[in-house]
Amino acid sequence: MSTKARAGTVAGTSVGFVVIMIWCLLPVAWIISLSFKSTAETGAGSPQFLPKDGTLDNYKTLLGVGKLSDGSEPDPAVSHDFLHALINSFGVALIATLLSVVFATLAAYAIARLEFKGKRLVLSLALAIAMFPVVSLVGPLFDMWRTFHLFNTWPGLIIPYMTFTLPLAIWTLSAFFREIPWEMEQAAQVDGATSWQAFRKVIVPLAAPGVFTAAILTFFFAWNEFVLAISLTSTTDSRTVPAQMSFFVGADPFNPPYGQLATASVVVTVPIIVIVLLFQRKIVAGLTSGAVKG
């Protein structure tokens, strides 16, 4: 490659780098900026990007701490609903993730390591169910859950969440497990390890990163779920954050609480950013190995 062409590539890549960074981070910067705008400012119309006078009032209201800048107490109902929704989101997403990863680990181990009838069928079934339109479940579940007293409960959400978390976990884990050098287990046994030692010291450390990655991806999906969350819940007893946010109109329906919604957005995005910062490599590997061998 000539030096000119190489310089062109480098320049192009650098421009691309900047574009990608702006693409990814501008909307995030925007909701962070909005979260510091006061209700008075957004009420009067505030099209500029940065707040005129930054305020922490939205955070205080949402988390129910401290006193607002005008000296009044924040509305306790807002923080009560929001914090409840956060707990519901965490609980439902974690339990759904845990259950599906356990079932999926058993299935993926069998798919990766054993020869049995219907192996491909299981993978195809998982894929077909992953593409299933979740909204199709809303009607029948709405009817059935009222009979079974599962409407507006955690299990009422966790059970249907399995329709997408379980196939995703099976798909990702079986791709990971295919890459594990299973013969190392026998090698360890030849070297004098018991089967339990071979499993614990060789197989578990090899399989754990894959299981962990599948768990992160599954958690993202469950944390993001919206259709079932708004259809199968009716109060803050089980409403998750996305559902709670979509129904939050504030005191004045003609003047949506931009700042508070942006603040809620920032608060629920923080865990995602932390997870992404810590496990970037694993997530990328998990995302692509499920579909494409990377």
Binding site: C24, A110, E115, A291
Partner: protein, 314 residues
């Protein structure tokens, strides 16, 4: 490498169906059984229930008037203009967003493939839109396009058609545009990561050979790079198209279906949850399910997607 190569039983057995391979067969089935049973219970069972309910005129506000109507619900849906309008909306959103994401996603993948500095930074950043809740993305873009509080009108008022008082949610196409922007922003990273994985599988030697033979950059792209990552592209298109067809969250948050921006999923939701039309809603669920099935079949057939090959299981 196939999975069988690592299993001693599979290599030993085969010809004589030994006890060992029988045992392996049983163990395999036992291990997958819980997952398969759970998947079937949570999807197949409600779907059968939907099929049954769809044959009734059944409204939750008047449950005593439940009445068998056969395929009546289906005929009234298929002859209703709203159903078709929403289907067309959904197809437009699917085709436009997937096409744009494919192009932008490919450019992003090329940049990520070539970039030699700050690889971790760029991959971390690109995972943020992917990980963000769709509802949050929808709010962020709703505020971006907001009439009194958004920055689009003030930053881009020099473009024709955009003024300080452009009301993006006041008309069909601008509202559709805003919805599609939020969808594209959130899902392009997923597309670009899948394409990046495909791109890294294309052999550099082949590209180098084409270069030596005098192929231009454009020729190398179309004749060497793209054909060699066909499997990855098709899998990305399949996944994203079926996902885009189910669009719901953004529309719910940004317009609630106003300005005729309703999608098929939204229509189904509205019939069941807001109108309590369980019979009609179930019929819509069944139709939506069949549409997604048909769509998956068409994409797999039309583009000859080979998932096994893409996963390296050929």
């Amino acid at each position: 490498m196939t999975a069988t190569a690592t299993t001693p039983a599979a290599t030993a057995g085969r010809a004589t169906k030994s006890d060992r391979s029988n045992a392996e067969n049983r163990l395999g089935m036992r291990l997958v059984a819980p997952a398969v049973v759970v998947m079937l219970i949570v999807t197949a069972w409600p779907m059968i229930q939907a099929l049954y309910l769809s044959l009734f005129k059944y409204r939750l506000t008047t449950p005593d008037e439940k009445e068998f109507v056969g395929i009546g619900n289906y005929t009234s849906i298929l002859t209703d203009g709203l159903f078709w309008k929403d289907t067309v909306n959904t197809v437009i959103i699917m085709v436009v967003t997937v096409a744009i994401e494919l192009v932008i996603g490919f450019v992003f993948a090329m940049v990520m493939h070539r970039v030699i500095f700050a690889r971790g930074v760029i991959r971390t950043s690109i995972l943020i839109p992917y990980g963000i809740i769709t509802v949050v993305s929808a709010f962020a873009w709703q505020f971006t396009f907001s009439l009194s509080n958004g920055w689009v009108n003030s930053w881009f008022d020099w473009l024709p058609g955009i003024a300080a008082d452009t009301n993006w949610f006041g008309d069909h196409w601008p509202a559709m545009f805003a919805i599609m922007v939020s969808e594209i922003w959130k899902t392009t990273p997923f597309m670009s990561l899948l394409l990046l994985a495909g791109l890294s599988q294309v052999s550099e030697d082949m590209i180098e050979a084409a270069k030596v033979d005098g192929a231009t950059w454009w020729q190398r792209l179309w004749k060497v790079v793209l054909p060699n990552m066909r499997a990855a592209i098709m899998v990305a298109v399949l996944f994203r198209a079926l996902d885009a067809f189910r669009i719901f969250d953004n529309i719910f948050v940004m317009t609630r279906g106003a300005q005729d921006t309703e999608s098929s999923s939204f229509l189904t939701y509205r019939q069941v949850i807001e109108q309590f039309q369980l019979g009609l809603g179930s019929a819509l669920s069944v139709l939506l399910f069949l549409t997604v099935l048909l769509l998956a079949f068409l994409i797999v057939r039309l583009f000859r997607v080979d998932l096994a090959q893409a996963r390296g299981e050929s």
